[in-house]
Symmetry: C2
Subunit: 388 residues, 2 copies
C-alpha cells in the first residue's frame, strides 16, 4: 500500500471511490459534492469531533475520473493531510465575505464541463451542511452546470459495507455488549436515571468506546412512554422496566442497540412483552435474505408480534447502521429499498404494553448471502431482573 | 408560571420568542422556520441526543404574533409535549413520499399571507437541516410567499444570554474545571493519548456532565501540530506539552476551554509560550467592553502576543459559546460583529512554538456592562508540570 491513510488502508477508500464513480458514470454526473461528516469520513477517513462546531463548512469533491479533492478550512489541513487524499485546498474560515465558495466553485469547474452535472445528496435522510445562501451563490458561479440529486448514487454504495467496516461495527457492538453486562453493577431501585445514564456512559468508555454519541432510555411500570429522552432525576422504582439504548463509537463506527431490565421481579406484562419481542426478532433473524424489501421486514415483524397477541408500536422497526447512528433503509410500510448482501441493519420491534407505554428490543446484524448474522451479542430470551 | 416546560420556566422561552418577534417585525417577516437542534432547543427546551440520527427532519415555526408551532416526527411527540409548546403537529417519519413537507407548508401558510415573507437562517455559520429537494418542494408549495435570510434576526437574539443561560454555562465550566483538576490522576509519561482522552471523558461525566460532546487535544515537544484530532495510540513522552480541550454539556449548555500540561519539567519554550498566552488573555480580560467589534479583539490578542515576541497562530482566536460548542462571532480580522452585554465568549489565543507546532490557551467569559467576567476557573499562570 504505502499511502498514508486513517482508520483503513488507502485501498479501502479507493474501492469506495471506484464504486461511487461507477454510479456517477451511470447517472451522467461529472462530480459529486459532499458536505456532511459521514460522507466526508466515508470518502477520506477524516475523523474528528470538531464537526460539533457549526462554524465552518467542509467540502469534498469526487471527480468522475480522478481522486477526491478536499476543500476545507485551514484548521483541518494537518488532519486531512494524514488521510490518503493528496489534493487538499484550504481557506481561512470562517470568512464572512467568501467562506470557501469561490475556492469550491473553482475546484468543481476544473472537473466538470460547463454543460455537465454535479450531484449532491438532496433526498430522504440527507441535508446540505453549508449555508443556504452560499449554496445559491455556488449554483450561480457554476452555471450553466446543473446541480442534481445524487442520493441514490451515494446510498447504494454506502449501504453495502466492506468486511473491514463490518469488523468495526462488530467491535462497537462488543464494547456495548460488555457495558450492558455491567448494568447490574450500577442499577438499583432508588437510583436516579441521570446517575444511571452517567454510569452507563462511563462503562461504555471503560470497555473501549472512543466516545459515546448516543445514550437514551426510559423507565416505568411495564414499559416507558418514550425512547429518545435524556435522563431526569426520577429514581428507579421496584416494578419498573428500565431500557438503555446506545450508539457508542469506535474508529467512527456505531453500534445501536438497547437492552431491557426489570427492577425487582418482572411483572407478567413486561415478561411476556419481552418474550414476544425476543421471539419476533428470532423469527426475523431466520427469515432475512437479500432481495427482500425494507417494507417486507416491517410487515414480517408486525405479523410476528400480532400472531403472539401484541400490538406493534408505530414508527420504524429497524434501520441501517454504520457511520451514523441510523442510516437508511427504514423498516416501515413505505420503504421499498431492496435489502442487499453486506447491509448492516438493526431489528427494533416495539410493542404497546398498555397506558401509552411501550417496550422496544433491538439487535444489530449484517446481511450475508445466506441470511442474517448477529453483530450484537444476542439479548437473553427472558427479561433480566435486577434484584439488589 | 404553571406552564409545563423543560430546563427553564416557560417565561424564559416566552422572553426569547418576544425578542425574536420584535426582530421579525422590524424585518417584515411573517414567520421564522427553524430546523437545527440548537435553534429548536433555544425556542422550546426540547433536548435529546436523538439528533444524532439524521433520518428525520424536525421543524419549528415562530409566527409573528403567536406562540411557536412544532411540526415534528411522531417519535418526538411525547418529549415535545413536555415543553411549553401547545401546538405540536406530527407525522410518521421517515416518509419517502412526503416527509412532513405538506404538513409544514400548511402550518406556515396559516401564519403568513400569500404576499408575506418567511425567514430562515441562510448565512454564515448556519445550515438547513432538511433535504434540499424538500426545501425546494416547500418553496413551491408556499409560493408566492418568499423565503428569505433571517440569520441576523436569530443571531442578534441568541447571542445575548439571559442570566439563566449564563448560570448553566458557568455550571458546565465548573464541571470541566473539576475534571481538569483531576488530570494528574490519569496522565503520566508512557500512557497513550487514547487512554487519556477516555479517562478525561470519564472524569467529566463523574464531575457532573450529562454528556461529553467534544474532546480534542494534542501532545508533542514544545507544542502540538493540530487541535482537532481524535487521540491516537502514541504514548506521552517526557518533554511533551499535552493539551486537552473539551465541550462538556450540562442541561444542553456547553463549556469550551482547554488546559496545557508539561510532561515532566517544562522546556523554556513551552513555559514561555504558556506565560505569554496567559498574559495576552489577562490583558484582553481587562480590556473587553461592549461596543468593541470581534475584529478588535482579534487585533488586541495579536498585538499582545507580538509585543511579547510571540507569533500568533492563524484562524480565529475565540468565538461565541452557548448551546453549541462554538457560536458566532469569531475573533478574526474579518468579523465586524459588535460585542454586546450578555454575550458569552471564548478567548483562545494561540502562538507558534516552532517547527509547525503551536500552543493554544482558552478561557470562557461573559461580557458584562463593565467588562469581562470569567466563567471558566482561570488557568494557572505557569504551565503545570506533571511529574509522576
Amino acid at each position: 500500500m504505502g499511502e498514508r491513510s486513517i482508520i483503513f488502508p488507502a485501498q479501502e477508500y479507493r474501492n469506495r471511490v471506484a464504486r461511487l464513480q461507477a454510479g456517477m458514470a451511470a447517472q451522467g454526473l461529472g462530480a459529486l459534492l459532499l458536505t456532511t461528516p459521514a460522507d466526508i469520513f466515508y470518502l477520506t477517513g477524516f475523523l474528528t469531533r470538531f464537526w460539533e462546531s457549526p462554524a465552518r463548512p467542509w467540502f469534498a469533491i469526487v471527480p468522475l475520473m480522478d481522486d477526491p479533492v478536499a476543500v476545507i478550512p485551514a484548521i483541518g489541513a494537518e488532519l486531512m493531510g494524514r488521510t490518503w487524499l493528496h489534493d487538499i485546498r484550504t481557506w481561512d474560515a470562517p470568512n464572512p465575505h467568501d467562506d470557501g465558495i469561490s475556492l469550491l466553485a473553482g475546484a468543481l469547474a476544473e472537473q466538470v464541463p460547463s454543460q455537465g452535472q454535479i450531484g449532491l445528496p438532496m433526498g430522504l435522510e440527507t441535508h446540505l451542511r453549508m449555508p443556504l445562501a452560499d449554496y445559491e451563490r455556488l449554483h450561480a458561479l457554476l452555471a450553466p452546470r446543473q446541480l442534481v440529486d445524487a442520493t441514490a448514487c451515494i446510498h447504494r454504495v454506502r449501504e453495502v459495507k466492506s468486511q473491514a467496516e463490518i469488523a468495526k461495527i462488530r467491535e462497537s457492538c462488543a464494547i456495548a455488549g460488555r457495558a450492558f453486562d455491567r448494568v447490574p453493577e450500577f442499577v438499583a431501585e432508588g437510583r436516579p436515571l441521570s446517575g444511571i445514564f452517567r454510569d452507563f456512559q462511563i462503562a461504555l468508555l471503560t470497555e473501549g468506546a472512543d466516545w459515546v454519541s448516543y445514550v437514551a432510555g426510559g423507565a416505568g411500570p411495564d414499559g416507558y412512554g418514550d425512547v429518545i429522552s435524556p435522563a431526569g432525576p426520577q429514581p428507579l422504582r421496584r416494578g419498573d422496566v428500565l431500557m438503555l439504548d446506545t450508539g457508542a463509537v469506535k474508529d467512527g463506527y456505531f453500534c445501536d442497540f438497547d437492552r431491557n431490565f426489570s427492577i425487582g421481579a418482572a411483572s407478567d406484562i413486561s415478561r411476556r412483552a419481552h418474550a414476544v419481542l425476543w421471539r419476533a426478532t428470532e423469527d426475523t433473524l431466520a427469515t432475512l435474505r437479500p432481495g427482500l424489501r425494507a417494507s417486507d421486514v416491517h410487515a414480517f415483524l408486525c405479523d410476528s408480534l400480532q400472531r403472539r397477541g401484541s400490538t406493534p408500536s408505530g414508527g420504524r422497526l429497524g434501520h441501517g447502521l454504520g457511520i451514523t447512528l441510523t442510516e437508511w433503509p427504514s423498516f416501515t410500510p413505505m420503504d421499498d429499498t431492496v435489502l442487499r448482501e453486506g447491509m448492516v441493519l438493526t431489528l427494533e420491534p416495539g410493542c404497546f404494553t398498555g397506558d401509552g407505554r411501550i417496550m422496544v428490543h433491538e439487535e444489530n446484524i449484517v446481511l450475508n448471502a445466506d441470511g442474517a448474522e448477529l453483530l450484537s451479542p444476542r439479548a437473553p430470551s427472558e427479561l433480566p431482573e435486577i434484584t439488589a
